[in-house]
Amino acid sequence: MQDIITKEEQKQKNWLLDPVYPNKPQPRELDAALFLKKTFEEEPCKGLELLFRRFYKPLCSHAARFVYSRQIAEDLVSEVFFQFYRTKAYENISSSYTSYLFRSVRNECYTYMQREFGRMNSMESSTEETLSDTRPQPDAEMHYNNLFLKVNDVIGKLPAQCQRVFLMSRFESKKYHEIAQELQISPKTVEVHISRALKHLRTALHDEWMILSLITVLSSLLLEP
């Protein structure tokens, strides 16, 4: 009798003392995720709204690092949320909401950049596909980082006036003539500045596309024999 009780006690003690999930996210984070999951199950629309309020701003900020435009960043992020809801991706999400959404936005930005600033294989860009389930791709992560760092670099190195005009146009949503008026230059000059900035981006990113497309091809050969 005595023995049994001691054993029971020990077990309980151990269970309490053990660090249960040492590597898992913080309990608070887990609670939030669980709460969101539950909301999505009961009322998907409400779940989407909660998710949106939590992630919209940071996602837009991140997208802007790639596309350098307020409008485009917002459009791309909204599109991600829309597709997330439309394809019911929330039903079978295996990673955290954070990584899923960031990954989707980065994919979206990459696609956009590729179309706007790269001359990629027409075959690739013509293929129509649905929302990604975004499997983890460490290589892609790194190159996405390099991509926005590169964009950041290019914009940072633009001549002062050119940079100013470009940012006014892309972040303050000002029309060419408004910028011209504000800076007291001709609308033609504004146009020249903006096209110069875009041209800089295009040439600077050219190598990036080469590397990225090479990686896509190589990894497709390695992953899908």
């Binding site: 709204e49 837009c60 696609t111 980082n145």
Partner: protein
Amino acid sequence: MKTSISKYTFFEYLSGRSNPLEKQLVMEWISKPENTETFYEWLLQYETLSPQFLPDQEKAIESLLQRINLDVDADADYAETAGTVYVRKRTYPVRRILFLAASVLLTVGAGWWFRDPLIYKTYQTGYGQTTDIFLEDGSKVTLNANSSLRVPRFGFSSDAREVFLSGEGEFTVSHTVDNKRFIVKTSEKFQVEVLGTQFSVFARPRGTKVALTSGSVRIDYDSNRREVMMEPGDLAVLDKKGEVQLEKNQDVQTLVSWKEQRYVFDGTSINDIASMVEENFGIPVAIADEETRLRTITGNFKTKNADELLKTISEALNLKMSVSGDSILLSPN
């Protein structure tokens, strides 16, 4: 080795302020799958702490919900077109597969597209030009003007020697020790099969004719595998109905007179001569009226060009020959 970086280092990296060494460390750290979740968690924190700009969240959520409601009302297809301009999503695995599939298709397709030039060698004669071709088995083919002969580039197959003719040619087929058949195809439906023999094949849009000089040949025609055996002196003509008519004891030598730039006409109509000139010299010949068309001529002409031939014929029949552009008109004088 467990690489670990501080959040500060990471934030500096995201701002593009890290030095190459720090960059290297961060990249190593990111490449570890177990750090992926932390990477995104920190990314979220970074973007929350130092936002690039402040979007109008309320407006955005309103338009998103509006769009969703529209989507619920309409079916999926409509929703695709209902929005403004949206960038399509890509699934990486699917894209890869599609990309791979496309490359494979392209390669195979290119091979398929170029299979003829790869597998076959084609001899082609221009207008007013004849040529002798010696095949690897010792057979000789004399090609008339505006004709082509296609032969396998890498040798004949083991069971038959097969060539493809369009236009006109005379074949002198040598016999092989293993009795390998020699087949001249003019279309999928018409072929001449021989052992060792000499014959001439005429295969032009106007019609198909086979003249046998010596030996024996068999003609397979029609998709129902019908056949005709020919003897020397026979002329086989494939008529418009797809039947083969055999004409016995013809002067088959005259049919290959083109070999010596000689034209032998025996009651040949101007109509036929006009077609022949167009086939061999590429010069369209128009005939003014029906009466002229049906007039015939008999004779033996040696010429190297159409002009000369038609001039002689016109003189003999008292016709007027007028050249307009690159075509010739024959009319009564």
